[in-house]
């Protein structure tokens, strides 16, 4: 469930864009005004505001935000203002072109979107970057990671609920055999994880646990330092429960010495209209403290204010 709160009656996009323009005027920037508008508009409304802004002032709202906002607040408000597909395309492009083995953003995007959503991201990627997503992922990765990531971002998984239990059993055994042989990047492992539908995979993981006693991720933890195994575990966890996976991303981002703003920004911006409410609930039950409280402790000023607004906090 989303955390984004939009008032019942909102000003027209024209009025909103004029207010935003006022927020940029003069010395300094009125970040509170920006937050009061943008943090309370959904994707369609933000798009309308951007179009009105372009038509009225002859430039992209994002350009003004780039000039007038700073630091983590700037990064969050830019990411937030984008349409979901453009946002994912931007995140994917960063992740692909600056890829390193511990980066799992591509896996997040590939596995925590519906099949149609992922295709819309791929379309937005063409428009923004004049190349295909899989092209960039393939060109910037190699070996086992390329074998895993290219099919993952190219997948168009079947979304029906049907499950073939016979297949689930045989593929659970297949996975178990390969994992026991430490053949983690075997073509068959990749095939099952990157092409089967999510319900089919859930059935397969359940069969795995039933037949072999351990959850598949336990068996994939034989070397906690191995990045490829971590990537495989991420795939499994994202397919089973994106909310639980993302709660951990958020929890780790707030736990580190200093805060990992990149991960926090990305998660809040991409999930505020999707399931941030559920992520909050998981956070609360896992940490015995509301996410808002942790955010208040670890972040500051306008970045904190925007985060809290997107988390659905009432204005004070």
């Amino acid at each position: 469930m989303a955390t984004l709160t939009v008032p019942h009656s909102i000003p027209s996009p024209q009025e909103d864009c004029e207010q935003l323009h006022k927020a940029f005027e003069g010395w300094g920037t009125n970040e509170n005004l920006i937050i009061s508008i943008l943090a309370h508009r959904n994707a369609a409304q933000r798009k309308a505001i951007r179009q009105a802004y372009q038509a009225t002032y002859g430039k992209d709202l994002l350009e003004s935000l780039l000039h007038e906002a700073h630091g983590d607040f700037e990064k969050l408000v830019l990411l937030w203002t984008l349409e979901p597909s453009e946002r994912d395309a931007l995140l994917a492009n960063e992740a692909a072109t600056k890829w390193h083995a511990a980066n799992r953003v591509l896996i997040e995007i590939a596995c925590a979107r519906s099949s149609e959503e992922l295709f819309i991201v791929r379309r937005a990627y063409h428009t923004q970057f004049k190349r295909s997503l899989e092209e960039d992922v393939a060109a910037h990765t190699k070996g086992d990671f390329r074998k895993l990531l290219v099919p993952l971002v190219s997948a168009y998984r079947y979304e029906g609920a049907e499950v073939n239990m016979h297949l689930a059993k045989s593929e659970a055994k297949l996975l178990h055999d390969k994992i026991s042989d430490k053949a983690y990047s075997d073509e068959e492992v990749i095939r099952v994880l990157t092409t089967r539908s999510k319900p089919q995979l859930l059935a397969t993981f359940n069969q795995y646990k039933n037949e072999f006693g351990n959850a598949i991720n336990k068996d994939l933890k034989s070397d906690p330092k191995d990045d490829f195994l971590a990537a495989l575990r991420a795939v499994v966890r994202l397919i089973c429960s994106p909310e639980k996976y993302l709660e951990k991303v958020v929890r780790l981002s707030l736990n580190k010495m200093g805060t990992d703003e990149t991960a926090l920004t990305r998660t809040v911006a991409t999930r505020a209209e999707v399931d941030l409410k559920v992520i909050k609930e998981v956070y609360q039950s896992r940490n015995s403290v509301p996410l808002e409280k942790a955010v208040k402790q670890d972040t500051h000023r306008h970045y904190e204010d925007l985060l809290l607004a997107l988390l659905g906090c009432e204005e004070n």
Partner: protein, 317 residues
């Protein structure tokens, strides 16, 4: 000795090796020979492929009957295919590759010659029809050394804009050349870099690579891939679909064409009629020195022939 009518009837029943049946001739002779069973009997004695002497009758040869079923159904098949949504057509052809052992070349054809949006449409249609994703079935059913390449091809959503990085194209041409030299040409489709380039780069970028390849090495890439037919087909489909389709069409006309090859004729004519049939006709004329319409007229019969000519934008024979 066979009469003129008998010869016409033999031809009409595809006895001369042509494709399809001449429906109008059949109907007319049935009318002419009414109450003249001796004509039909004489025909049976002379048409050795379909009838053979057995006791007091000329019995029907089952395998030629089977062949006739196919010849009669060519028009039926092409009509049903024509009426179908293009994405359903392609999805069904793909499923025949994954589940009915049809040649993988058909999958390559669909994956490489359709636009990015059409290929997405095919993937959607495939899910609707078969309750699995296309890449799922290709990966699961085709478990050989080529499957990486095939899965990559059907999963592609290639950029279709104008932008090409020529420096990258030049260097990728070199990579492909190196891969051919080191891998040995028949294993080229298992080389990671070749797979990456062929399954992810845009068509315009690939055409640029092919152009640099010729400049750098003096030969067309297709020539250097002659010992890996799959890779060769991919390059041809991506570089010049019209040439590829002409070749498919032409193999249907040759003597001793297999069933799969003759089906290729219907498949290409139906799937390209609205897209690039004009370019195909041009390419065909260049390659084989004959007009496609003329060859169709000589080698096919009846409604099947007429539908092919219509699909080719030609007047009836």
């Amino acid at each position: 000795m066979a009469t003129e009518e008998q010869l016409a009837l033999t031809k009409a029943l595809s006895g001369d090796g042509g494709l399809g049946v001449e429906e109008s001739t059949l109907v007319s002779i049935i009318g002419k020979w009414r109450k003249k069973p001796e004509h039909v009997s004489s025909f049976r004695k002379n048409f050795n492929r379909l009838f053979s002497h057995a006791g007091h009758i000329e019995k029907c040869e089952d395998d030629h009957v089977q062949k006739l079923v196919i010849e009669f159904s060519r028009f039926h098949q092409i009509t049903v295919l024509w009426a179908m949504h293009p994405h359903e057509r392609d999805a069904r052809w793909a499923n025949q590759v994954t589940h009915k052992n049809h040649p993988a070349s058909i999958l390559v054809e669909v994956a490489c010659t359709r636009s990015a949006e059409d290929l997405l449409g095919v993937r959607r249609a495939y899910q609707t029809l078969y309750h699995h994703s296309l890449e799922e079935d290709v990966a699961y059913q085709i478990k050989d050394s080529k499957s990486k390449l095939l899965v990559g091809l059907v999963s592609a959503y290639r950029y279709e804009g104008q932008k090409v990085d020529n420096d990258v194209a030049k260097s990728e041409s070199k990579s492909i050349h190196n891969a051919i030299k080191s891998a040995g040409a028949n294993k080229i489709s298992e080389n990671d870099e070749v797979v990456r380039i062929l399954t992810t780069r845009s068509k315009l970028h690939l055409k640029s690579i092919f152009k640099y390849y010729k400049e750098q090495y003096g030969k067309y890439l297709e020539e250097d891939l002659s010992s890996d037919p799959l890779a060769q087909q991919i390059v041809l489909c991506l570089d010049s679909p019209a040439t590829y389709f002409s070749q498919v069409i032409n193999s249907a006309f040759k003597e001793g064409a297999t069933h799969a090859e003759t089906e290729g004729l219907s498949r290409v004519m139906v799937s390209r009629s609205d897209i690039d049939i004009e370019e195909i006709k041009e390419a065909y004329a260049k390659l084989y020195g004959a007009k496609l319409a003329d060859v169709i007229g000589k080698t096919t019969r009846g409604y099947f022939r007429d539908s092919l000519l219509s699909l080719a934008g030609e007047a009836k024979a």
